[in-house]
Structures are given as C-alpha cells and as structure tokens.
Symmetry: C3
Subunit: 654 residues, 3 copies
C-alpha cells in the first residue's frame, strides 16, 4: 500500500473564474493530490439539447492540472437538466405513495427509465470522449450516491414494465412464478406476466417473494445503470480508475454487485451527519456527539474495502458541521484528522474532503468546508496541514488479511425488511453491533459477501444471513473456519420460502439445530438468557425455540418453553436463538473468539485498535486519555501513550 | 346446548394432493368435527372468466367428508382474481387519501361497486349451485372478515354515486337534507343530491351529519353485500347454516344489522394478536403478554352471541404466535385450551383452529398452526388432544339469560369518532372497561343492541350511547331495569343534532339531569372526583357540568364549577358526568350492582368466573394459583381449587 | 381613546326568523354595541348564479339596526357555494401532497385562482352595492381568517402559472433569477420562467430562494385578494371602517402588508383554544389550562396594534370551551372578563364575543357562546354583565408609545423555516419568549415591522431577523436606540444568500461581530453558557462561533471552541450567539434593560402589569392572590390589592 492520498471536492462553476487559479495553487500548496469535479454540471455543459459549453471546464481542468493536481472527473447523471425532464417527464421517479417526485433538487430520475438510461449513456459518452484521455484526468466517478433521497425503489410505469420483463426472464413461464411465489395463497394466481403489478399501495401486505423480487429487480437496474457508464468509460478512458461514491449505512441495492464493475469502491463519510439518525442509543449519541461513533469509519472502510477487492477511497469526508441532519454539531478539534487516519488504518487509499469552499447560495449553505465562503481557512484546513505532516512520518505498509470475516448479504437484509415478524427487528443494525463487539475485543475484520471466497479465516460470523444457499453452506464447510451464526439465518430459501427442513435450512447440519418455533417479544416485556456460568442477561425481540443435540451454552428463562436453548454449539458452528446486544453479545463474542483460537483483547469502549501491516493504530473517541492496550516494546510514530482524548497513536512493535 | 364442536381451517390448495387423504385422517383422528375450506379459491376455481376447475375441490370435499368431517364451505369473494380486476379496475377500493388501493393481497374490492356486487353474486351462485346440497357441506361462511385492512370505508366514484342515491332515498328532497345536516352553517346549502361529495380530503372537518350518513351508507353496503350472498345460499343450500367471521374489536359497520341476516355469528379470536394494538395499559400488556387480556374471549363471545341470537362460533382460534402484530409472542402453554373453554363458557358452540398446517410460502409463513410446515405437531395440537379429553368430562348444559345487559350501538361509536370534542375520548374502549369492571365483580353479561328486546334484566348499562331515540327511551323505561348511563349518552339526535332540551336529550326524564356544559381535560391536567364517603379519585378527559335535583353520589373537585355533580342517581337511572376508569369505575360499578339488587363478588383481577347453566368456570390469567371465589360445596369436573396459574377449573354446585 | 366597545358574532340564518327580534333586543339590553353578521352567507344570498335572495338579510339588518346595534357586515368569500365550485373546480386549493382539497367545509379556494379572485370581487361588489351605505352598517370585515386550515400555500396549476408570472416580473430575465437563486448549484439552471415548478414534492429539498420566493408570492396573493375587496368597499361603502380577522400565532403571510390596506386590524382571540397546540412547556400548559398563557392577549394586541397603526379590535373572543382543540377545557370563572380587559389594556378598541348562541347542528356544536342552544344564559353572558358595569367605572384614556420596540419580520420567519439547520429551531416561538421575558420585567412593548419608523425607542429588540437589509441597518443606527440582536440575525441577504462578509451581514458594524461558524446541538446534549459573574446556564440548539473585539458578557463552556463568546456588547448592540430561554433569557433581558436605561420591575411570573395612559392594570393568571408590584399611592378603580387569583386590578397613580 502506498501512502495516503488526499483530495478535495471542488465546484468551480459556483465561483468566479478569476478565483480558479488561486484556488488551484492553494490546493496544491496545502498538499492535496486529488480534486474531484463536475458532478452536477450537465445543465451547464449542455444547456439545451446538443449545444455544449465545454470551454469553462476545459479551462478548469487545465488550471488544476497545471497546478499539479490529479483530477477525478464525474459523470453528471445525478442531476439531469430541466429541458430533458420537459422533453421526457416520464424520467421522473415515483414514490411508494404513487406520486411523481418532481424536478427542483437532484436525483430526479427513475432507474427503470430506458429513456434516461440512453440519455445517461449519451452524456457520459460526451464527457468521456472529451476528457477520457486528458492527461490531468486520472480517475472517474460515475453519478453520485445512488440511493440518496431513497431513489432506488421507484414505482413508475417504466418500473412496472421493466419488472414484468425481468420476471419473464427470471421465471420463463408464469406457472414457474406462481409456484415460487406461492400465489395459490389468497388465490392470487397469475395467468401472464402482464398481470403483475408493483408491490406498493396494496390493501394488505404484498406476497413476500413478489416484494423481494422487486428489490432484486430494482437493484439490478442500479447495476445496469452503473455498468452502462462503466462500459462507456472503459472505451473512452482506458486505464483510468472508475469509482462511485456509496453511502454509509445504505443497504437498498446490492453493493457487492455494483462494486464488481468498479475499480475502486468509494464512499462518503459523514460520522456526525449520520450519528443522530443512526440506531445508536441516546446515551451513545450524547457521548459521541462530537466524535461520531467509534466504529463508523472502520465499519464502512472494511465493508467497502471487501467489495473493492482491497481498493477503497473516501470520496467525501465530513470537514465540520453538515447541513442536513436534524441537528448539526461541530466535530471536536482534531476529529477530521483522526477520521482521516482511521480511514487509512482500515485500508482507505485516499481521502477527499467535501468540499473546498462553503457555498454562498442554494441548498448547502450551512455545510462547512476547508474554506469559509469568504475564503478564510476553516478548522478542517488547519487539520489538513497536520495530516500532511503526519503523512511524512509514516512508512509504507500493507493491510493483511484479517482472522475474522463478517458475512453481509443484501438480499437477507431485504428479506427481513419484508417479513420482519418483529417490527423492531434490528436487521442491518445487527452487523454494526457485532462489528463493535468484535472490535472492542481488539479484532480486525474483513467483510465478505455470499459469493466471495472464504478461505483463510479462523472465524466467519454471519450476523443475519436469512437467505443461505446450499452452495454457500458448502463453501462455509470447506473453509474450515469456525462459524458464529445469528438467529434467523438460513430461515428462508432464495425463493423466500420456508425450507422443507425448517430453519436454519441449509445450515441444519453445520449447526445441529432445528427451529421449532419463532416468536418476538416487545421491549416492554423483556425476558432473560442464562449462561452456563449462571450469569443472567435480559433481551427482547426475536426468539427461537430450537431443538438440538448439540452443546447448549445458554438457556432462556421464560414464561414459555422455559430453559429452551439460547446458544448452541456444534463442532463447527455456534448458533444464536435470539439477537443479543450489549453485555450479552460481548460475553458471547469473547467466548466465540477463544473457541476459534483467537485471543480477545479487552479494550476500553472508547478505544479502537487497528493493524495496518506493521503499523498499529489506537483511536481514542473518549474525553479522557487512555493507556495503549497490550504491552511490549513499541516505537511510537505519531501521538503518545496514553492516547490523548479524541486523539490517536501510531506505533510499530519492535 | 350441545357439546362443544371443534374444527380447523384448511387450505388444501396449498399442499400436494397426495397429502389430502392423510390430512383428513389425522384431523378426524384428533377429534375434529369441522373443517373450513375454500375461502380464497376464486382464482383457482375460475382462472379465467367462465372456465371452471372444480375437480380438485370435488376431490377435497369427498376425501374430507368420507373421513367423517363436516365441511364449512366459504364463498371466495374476499379475493377476486386478477382477470376480473383487469376487466373492471373500478372494483378496487379507494383510501381516504383518494388513492386506489391496488391488487396483490386480498380484500381489493369496494363495497359500493355494483359491478363487484353482481360478480360476487355470480360466483357465490356457482359455488352454491355446485355444493349447496352436497351431503358433506353442512355450513357456509360468506367472504372473510369484512373490515379487515380497513375496507368498509371506500372513497371511490362508485361510493360517491351510491351515497348520492342513498341520500336521495333517505331524505326525499334536498331541502330535507339541508335541514337535517344544517347546511346553512358555513353557507353550504345544496340544490341537488348530485352536488354532494364524499367527506374525505376536505379543507376543514366535514359536516358531522354528512360524515355520519356516509358511515351509515357504507355499513348498509356491507349488509347488502352480505345479504346478496345469503339469498343465493338460502336458495341453493337450503337448511345449511350461514355465517360470516366478524373481527374482534371492529366497529366499522353495524354488526347487529349484518348479523340479523345470518344463522350463526362467527368471529375470529386472536387474544395475543390483538393485545399489543389494544387500548390496554402498558402494564396490562406486559402482564397478559402470553395469555391475552382476561376479558378478550368473554367480551367478544358475549357480544356476538347477542347478535347471533344465542348462536356464536369461533371461526378462527389463535393456535400460537401470529404473524401480523408488531411483536408476536407465544401463548403460555395451556392457553389455547383455556381460550377454547372460555369461548365455550361464554356460549360458543364451536371453536375452529386457524390453521391446519403452517404455510411454507407467501404472506403468512410466520403464522403458527396445529402442525408445522414440516408436518410435525405444534403446541396447539397437543392442547387439542387435551381439549378432546376435557370434552368428555363435561355434561351438556345451556347458558341462561344474564341479570345484566350492556347496550352497544355502532352509530353512537361513529358519532363520537366524528365529533370527539376530546381527541383522546376512549369511545369503544369504554365498553371493554365497563365489561371488565362488571366481570371482576363476578357478573355475567348479555349484550343488546338498540333495537333488541330489553325485558328481564335487573340492570342495563349504557356505556356510550350518544344517540338515543325516544323509542329506545320508552323501551328502557318499560323494561323495569335499573339503568347505568355513561356520559354523553343521549347527547345527539339520530340527525346528529343537539337535542332541543340539551343532553341527555331523550334520557332527560329518566335521569333527571340537564347537561349545561361539556369540557375536556388533557391527561397532563387531571382533576378529582369525590364520592359521598370522602374517597377521592382522579380523572381526565370528558367532563359535563350537569344541573339536577336528583341524588348526587359524587362531586368534582375542580378549578371550574367546583363541586358540580359527577354521579347522579334518580329512581331508575345512575348518570355519570365523566368517563370513569380503574378504581373509580370499580367503586361505581360495585355500588350500582348493589343498587340493582345484585350481589357483587369480589374477584381477583386475574380471575374470571363464568356460569354456563349448571357449570361454573373459573379462568386464571395470572402466574400464581388462585383460590376459587365464593364458597359452598362443589363438584370439580376439570381442574382444581386453587385454580392453577394460567389454568381453569370447572365445577358444579352440589 | 374612547371607551371599550362590545360586540357579538351572530348567525341569524341558523335560527328561526321569529327569534331575530328578541335576539336583537337582548343583545342591546346586555350592553352590546356591535353585531357582526353575514360571514358565510354566499350560498344563501346567491343560491344559483345571478339569483339573489336579499330579503332575509334586509330584515335582519333592519331589526338589528332598529334595536340600536351597529352592524359589522362581512363579505362572504371564505365559503364559495357549491355551484361555483362545480362551474370552476379549478378554484379548489391543492395541498403540498399535490391533492386537491375538496368542497364540504370552508376556505375551499386557492388564492392564486384569478377565476376566484374575479368571483370574489363580483360578490363583494354585490354586498357592498347593496349595503355599503346602509345607515346600520358601520364597518366591514373581508372574508374570514385567511390562513385558517393552512390555505395560504396552495400548489395548484393556477399557483404555478401565477408564480411564473410573479418571478418574471421580479427578475426580468431568467439569468437574473439563475444568479440570485444560485441555480448553478446541482446544475439546475433555467432557460425560461416557464421551466419553473412549484417547490413541493421534490426528490430532495428545494433551492431555498425558490422556496422563499414562493412564500413571498403566496403572501402577495393574499394581499392582492384582500386589496381587491378593499377597493370595492372603498368605492361602495365610503367612510366605513374596513377590517379582517387575523389569527393568533399565524405567520404564513406578511400581515404587515395586508394590514397596510385596512383601517382596523382585527384578530380572533382563543386563549385556551390555542394553548395546548402552542410551544409552551407541559408545565405551563398545566398551570394555565383554564386561564390561557399570561401573554397571549397582550402579545397579539400589541403585535396587531402596531400593524393597525393604533387600531386593533378583537373580532372573536373565546367565551368558554371551543370545539376544535385536542382537549377543550372551560376557562376559570372570570377569565372572559379578564381577557376582555387585558385586550383593552393593550389597546383594543372593541371586543366581540364569538358567538351569540351555541349551534344546534353542523361542525361547531361543541363551541360555547353567550347563550346555550336552548337560549339559556351561559357563563360568558354573566361575565359580560360585569364587563358592562366595569366599563362605567373607567375614564377615557390613551395608550402612549412604549420605550421598547420588538421587530417582527415575516420573511425572516419563513427563511428559518426553509433552512432551519436545527430541526428544533424555535423560530417564531422566540418572539413569544422574548415578549414574556420583557413583560415579566414590567415593560410595555410596541411591535414594529422592518419598514416601520423606529424613532423614539430606548431599546429595540430583534429576536429573529434573519434577513436584514442595509436600509434597515441604517434606520436602526439613526434611531439612536440600544439594540438587542438575536442569533442568526442578518445571516442571509434578501436573496437568501450568505452575506459576503458572513453573518451578521449588514449588522456587522453595529455589533462588532463576525460569525465564523454555526452549529446546532440536540436537546439530549446540552452545553453551558457562563456569565461574567460566574453564573452557569444550560442551553441546546443553535450556537454560533463568533469573532469579536467587542465586550464579551458571557462565554460558552463546550467540548468545541470552549470559552468562545456567547453574549457580545458593542456601543450600540448586544448580540447573542445562541438562543437563550428561561432563566438565561431573563438574566440577559434584565441586564439589557438596565444598559438601555430602563428600570426593570421584577414581577411575579403569574402577574402582568400594563399601562394604558393614566390607567394601570395588573392581571393575575395564578391561583393565589398577588400584591400589586411597585409602590406609591394609588386610587383603585376596579379590583383590589392584592390582586385576586385569576382576577385583575385597575388603578390610577395619585
């Protein structure tokens, strides 16, 4: 791994051309390597059909390039111009309430629109043909944040038509669909694909396979949209890296599939912006109000690094208060620097700050930047200077494979959304809780998808893999790793049906478990789990009544099926019959790590330790200094022992 | 009354025909008498217009019948097939937001659609002509759960046209309507019935008589829909009992009116499914999480027994966790058996379990059944075995008329919905609170509607009879019973106008009360009621300032009109000027029973005592054993004294 | 100022003509001077196009006039008749969800409809031509409560067309609009005004200048609608006062602009009706449940007196429980009288009670009145008798200019709605909190708008003036007054852009402050402000990091930018870098008054002291007697010292 590269997002069109040259010089002078431009420029470049205004962008590229900056160019498809919408209003997306979502902001297009797909291909070709081989343009971003403003699911006429075609292709005959969906239920048999409607606005809940297939279809449309532009860029911009900026905490389309077509997986990192709306507790939100959650950066870098086959970039890094959360606090001094190095420690090759200068007009005026709108330096610019210095103190190194892999499967998350059985089922939140529990025990983590290779791990954890294929089961078995398997895993087939051997379906042999019943308990009526050592923990929500001849590590205390198994261990797998959190999850995870032959390291809850090749990082998200965990002789490269409050330390082991 | 009959809901179309024969044999072997089939089969029987596939259903009937099971056949109108919707999309219902509610689940029809009414009549005729005289088909259910998914009120074009016709018939001239509605208010006089719109989506609140008439019209459409199929069955299935499965806690149409056309009133009993969404307190929900509310079964059996002129059946009985509540806990062991006998004790002639085998696909996969989807026995099947044994230990007996009658009038509930004056007004919840207060004092209860005979009761209670006619007043007077009359009773005429003598209108003479003012207090500003003995209770919400020369049993302590009467008693009636609950309601109810010459029996709040002829039942919903209340010499037939936790005891008095 | 005039709102059309004569006689006998009629009579007067039924209204006017009552006639445009809607359904307003809001209540028109504007002009002309010079008709009210039921903003086709025309007129060229809105952002440049859509139902948030301009346009349409009728009345009813009844707590259109065209500013006073839905704390709501908030009457009289250039009337005064709040308590005995005199003390020339007799039918049956629907006297009638007696005991006097002025600017309130940056930003609530803080220190207050004269005040307070023009700055400077300036004041230009010198923009020189950053803190993570004397107060929400060389009176204690200035004082201005409330606001306000050379008077929080020329009023909203504040020799005209609970005292200083 080479050294961390730094960049900034720049909107030259929002500033007077007289400022471009000094901006470029200042960027380079600050130590920035990259500048990302042109995301929302379609309306400027092509103000009416077929009339192109490239001159200003030519100038910008020339000025930036000559200043020594590498340019990441964007295709502008996240914001089609008004004239195109007026020509083809059917491009607009449609909400679940059946209402067209109008022009006047951004992302006003429907992924199902073939008209828009062709237009996106056309404009991407124009951009790529123009700048694909420009010597200053070293990389391309396609579009911007695919699921922002909930645009992946659109209920348009185009979506209905596309979904029908997709179903016809998937099932071949309508009888095959009827069988898989089980339309005999409620007598809703179809006699042709043209009878099938979208699953919104119904009288009661839709058929779950119907709903899941619509999620799959919608995800496939995102992949098609992205791949269409990838193909354009491969042709016109050979050798340039292609990326897209995924969002944090977004699970609406299959990121594994889209990432497979990219060179680099980018993501946008807003540790405070995403805090208040997250599933963290009120206490945690208060504690991490000005630092972000300790695992925010790590979770997303690890997840997207896996999808990027090792290549992950932060394409937008929060520089100060954002403008779009319910409340928008400032990061504590030093946090922008800390987040930057946390990204690096988790494998990010580059970090770009969003944005160069705070806007004077339009929607994002309250979003901070490196510079204020009056051109003065804001806090993030000061921290950038320190980051550049830090960079000189760190040797090149490479992140190595972790001992623990976490499986994340988008279809399983959709499946539990569609059939929750417990309206408070934590679903995607489970991944974050397991990640945090493991990280607090000092473990580094790789993410894997259900199609990925599974070799070489001591432990593979499946927090919520509702849909498990026999093929995946075989690969889990062959991997040789110990397995930790969360509740409801394997409980549905890919067809969203109950396995004929009941849950956990394909995992039955590995786990030695049969789920005889599922129930869910409201938070007002919590029950208990008791470990073999007698320790009691409370829980609520999802619970399974399992039958097993395997080793029972914990049992429920309940008014129903008292003493039924809560944690079961076979030779290869530890199976959980509920969704633990907090201290219970911590205790289970500790035990599982030891069982897998890994040494858990008890870390302070505010501290995270990460290894990057020979480098060790410790990030302190608390307001008190914390001693470095572990012992031995160290050579500290940055920071100190103890790690300062809201600060970090980097060291090598002698 | 004959012995309890047992049955099960069966969907043979969802299973391989090779299973039908063994299913039938197992059902019979388990002691089941009845099997209900064919509810959602229209799409299977008539996959395209006019082409009928009866063969499989012929087979099913033959197999079940030969196994000795009696069949309840259903008309399939709760789920019209897609081809019919495609032919006539105007059949679909329209929500209060004006949006069409689409195909893809069930109940996707509008009661106002004459097109659908004719189609429903047509298909019912097909079913009835085919199986009406089949020797195995002993009873018919029409459609399924009329108000499920809020389908009684539909705001379609058909509804607008139908409502206009209904109004023309009701009022004759538009001037008569103008006068009754008081359209001179806000200058909204109509000059023709074709000017009248539906009362949804207005700028401000609709005229209340307009709103009430739309509720009446919508209810009449449900009755018409039901009656149309009743007439078909009377012709083609002579001598067979006809029923429909009402829902628990549903007040959206006039169940008295629909029930008048049926032979048996069925209802669907989901004690846990309905718990979390109920108006019970959080504490009660926690306490009864795995048992259901102690009065759930009794309330609904008593209510629908009254409407069924003594004939009430449980057509769907919860067997374990359901799949449709926010959380879905398991019933405690033994509860399915307890609920079954509680239904019987309250007069149910039959209990059918929903469903035979848990579904492997489609919407209800998490809904438990007698069998799991892999054919193994689930909890309810084990309890069924016990129920069959219990049945042998009980002699035949007959439920006798109760001493106390509770009046329930749907129009009064709609009226208080339309003009609440207190957004938290408990409305239909009042009936459940009064029922529980009386039951905890050991009283058996009959329900009556405003048109029913009132003779032979010692006490008639009117929890919330907002609309009282002079005719009802006369019948109350003639009945000779003592009366307990809740606040706002008699406060509106059938025209939804204020009586000229103010509230309680037609009840003025009986109660000796005139309501000079009405106010409502938010829960954050509770005030007090003081009984003559000095006891203080707090209350909030509805309060009336009444003038009276009758006996004042309790007075308000208030910052407004301090010491004004809260409970007033004339010779015949006790009138409440607020809506009591909890301890205050209990104290009032105790006093009222004594006043009516009935002996209140103080029961443990977890215990319910019910008399069925010579049999006495005590049901214990608590987690501790409870001694049988009362004394004397008993012959225990089932259970023990004390009554076990979550268990019941049946005895005869020697 | 002459003596208080009294009136009542009367709907003779709702009662039998045989009652009119006795009603008139009773009104006059009770001491009422005015009667307001005919608000909702269009449908009665013109039941079909061009056919007019004036006879009954002629009779009513003659009867009332002969009884000695002065009539306020209303134009009936708040409720167009159904035949007009059927002729022109495009008159109906459209909600933010894009749905037409239907006929069946009132205010079912869109201010943007030119069709309706012409119809309103036509019917107003008919009324004015008929009664403009009638000797009994002394004043006119136009329409009724313009923003009731949220009708100012309508998203109709007419609104789109009108908005485009308005923008073309405001900006001249589309490029000028592009520049001001900053449409280069997200590449949303427009090439013509016909490309511009309404700002509802978008994918993400609209451009803020787009949104603000739509608010301005919508407000202008209200002014145009009102002015059109004013012009009709000026022509046909010369010499009669013209008014409209504004609502309390409504900020949806520019009331300054509409008021400029009226002779009298009327408003509708519902102290209890507006309490529960207000921004007061739960504790305050409980405390003032039966009295209304102590500053309700004063705030609105002062605000609308300013807009009315000294002439404010209460056109509807709450007489008892209303029918439209979530809960509707009774006022404590005496409160109707207290509210009436509080209005007078704050400059109201007349108070009219809503309404004469409680309705027997239609929407407002639970709204109390002077008489019950059975014609008996209700509480308010008894208090009216006392008010008439009080009136005889008070000399004529005149309200004098206050020492303190409060600036209220509607566009600033809209601006903070559009770009809150803190979803809990208190916005219009700030005005009420500052008003209360000042009133609890014994200060009388005038309200001013941004265009008003500012001379003669010792102190001008700007609670939330987000948009400040250079012209306003100059007039503030010239006024010579001390200034108290709330956070975010001056932070946007009229174009909704960030000032080039950052916030507070045009106020930079006066305040000596530059706002380097803005953040917002959730209520769960409160931080502290410390005064120079060491006192600590907590706060949350909006916070600014300011740079200043002026005097720092208080500093933040924070995990970010600890010790940065919280309160800053220059020669002329005290600037607040957060939004104080409660004790912190009180402490600041006390200090500011002293700094401005005014003597704060510490009042009991339940007590309000008001001066009206030589008269002093003390209103006690508490439940305990309170001594009169201040000292000296007094001549008490009404009431006593101490002031009784929920009572008031009037005195003159000897």
């Amino acid at each position: 791994m080479s050294k961390l590269e730094l960049g900034v997002c720049y909107y030259p069109e929002q500033w007077d051309p007289s400022q471009w040259r000094s901006d470029a010089a200042r960027m380079a002078g600050m130590g920035l390597d990259w500048v990302r431009i042109a995301e929302f420029t379609w309306g400027l470049i092509e103000p009416e059909r077929g009339r192109f205004h490239w001159d200003w962008l030519d100038d910008v590229i020339e000025i930036l390039g000559r200043a020594g900056l590498r340019i990441m160019m964007s295709t502008p498809t996240a914001a089609p111009p008004k004239w195109l919408i007026d020509e083809h209003p059917e491009i607009l997306p449609v909400g679940p309430d059946g209402r067209v979502r109008g022009y006047g902001s951004r992302r006003h297009y429907c992924f199902s629109s073939d008209v828009y797909l062709a237009e996106a291909q056309r404009i991407a070709t124009e951009y790529a043909a123009k700048y694909g081989q420009n010597p200053h343009v070293h990389a391309w971003q396609i579009d911007n944040e695919y699921n922002d403003h909930d645009t992946v699911l659109s209920y348009s006429d185009a979506a209905r038509a596309g979904f029908r075609r997709w179903l016809a292709q998937r099932y071949g005959t309508i009888n095959a669909l009827n069988e898989v969906w089980g339309t005999v239920f409620w007598g809703s048999l179809y006699s042709g694909f043209d009878q099938i409607e979208l699953p919104n606005g119904l009288v009661a809940t839709p058929n779950p396979t119907h709903a899941l297939d619509f999620r799959r279809y919608s995800s496939d449309r995102v992949r098609l949209f992205n791949k269409t532009q990838v193909d354009v860029l491969r042709e016109h911009a050979p050798g340039r890296d292609i990326t897209h900026n995924f969002m944090a905490g977004s699970f609406e389309f299959d990121h594994h599939a889209v990432a497979a077509d990219l060179d680099i997986v980018g993501f946008d990192s807003y540790p405070l912006g995403n805090l208040m709306g997250s599933t963290l507790s009120e206490k945690e939100k208060r504690r991490y109000l000005r630092t972000g959650a300790p695992d925010y950066q790590g979770f997303h870098c690890d997840l997207y690094r896996g999808q990027g086959r090792g290549r992950v970039w932060v394409l937008e890094q929060q520089p100060g208060p954002v403008d779009w959360a319910a409340q928008n606090p400032s990061p504590a001094e030093g946090m922008v620097r800390l987040w930057t190095w946390a990204a690096y420690a988790h494998g990010a090759q580059a970090v770009m700050f969003f944005r160069w200068r705070q806007a004077k007009f339009a929607q994002e005026q309250y979003h901070t930047a490196l510079l204020r709108s009056d051109d003065s330096l804001d806090q993030a610019a000061l921290e950038l200077a320190q980051i550049v210095k830090d960079r000189e103190n760190l040797p090149s190194t490479t992140r190595v494979k972790a001992s623990v892999a976490m499986m994340l499967d988008y279809a399983s998350i959709w499946a539990a959304d569609i059939l929750p059985h417990d309206d408070d089922f934590p679903n995607s939140h489970i991944f974050r809780e397991w990640y945090t529990a493991l990280r607090c025990l000092g473990v580094d983590i790789d993410f894997v998808g259900p199609e990925d290779g599974l070799e070489g791990y001591a432990l593979i954890v499946l927090p919520q893999s509702m849909i498990v294929t026999p093929d995946l089961t075989t690969r889990l078995e062959v991997s040789g790793a110990k397995l930790l398997i969360g509740a409801r895993s394997g409980s549905k087939t890919t067809q969203m049906q109950t396995p004929s051997n009941l849950a956990p379906g394909a995992l039955a042999d590995l786990t030695g478990v049969r789920v005889a019943r599922v129930e869910s308990l409201p938070d007002i009526a919590r029950e208990s789990v008791q470990l073999q050592n007698g320790q009691l923990f409370d829980f609520a929500g999802w619970r399974e009544i399992v039958e097993t001849e395997a080793n029972v590590l914990a049992r429920f205390k309940s008014a129903y099926c008292d003493a039924s198994p809560a944690v079961v261990r076979s030779d290869r797998a530890t199976y959980l019959a509920m969704v633990p959190s907090g201290a219970l999850l911590h205790a289970i995870m500790r035990d599982v790590l030891e069982w897998a032959g890994l040494k858990p390291l008890d870390c302070d809850p505010d501290l995270r330790v990460t290894r990057l090749g020979t480098l060790h990082f410790a990030f302190n998200f608390g307001d008190m200094p914390k001693p470095l965990p572990g012992g031995g002789s160290r050579r500290i490269l940055i920071g100190s022992d103890p790690v300062g409050a809201r600060d970090f330390t980097v060291w090598q082991v002698n």
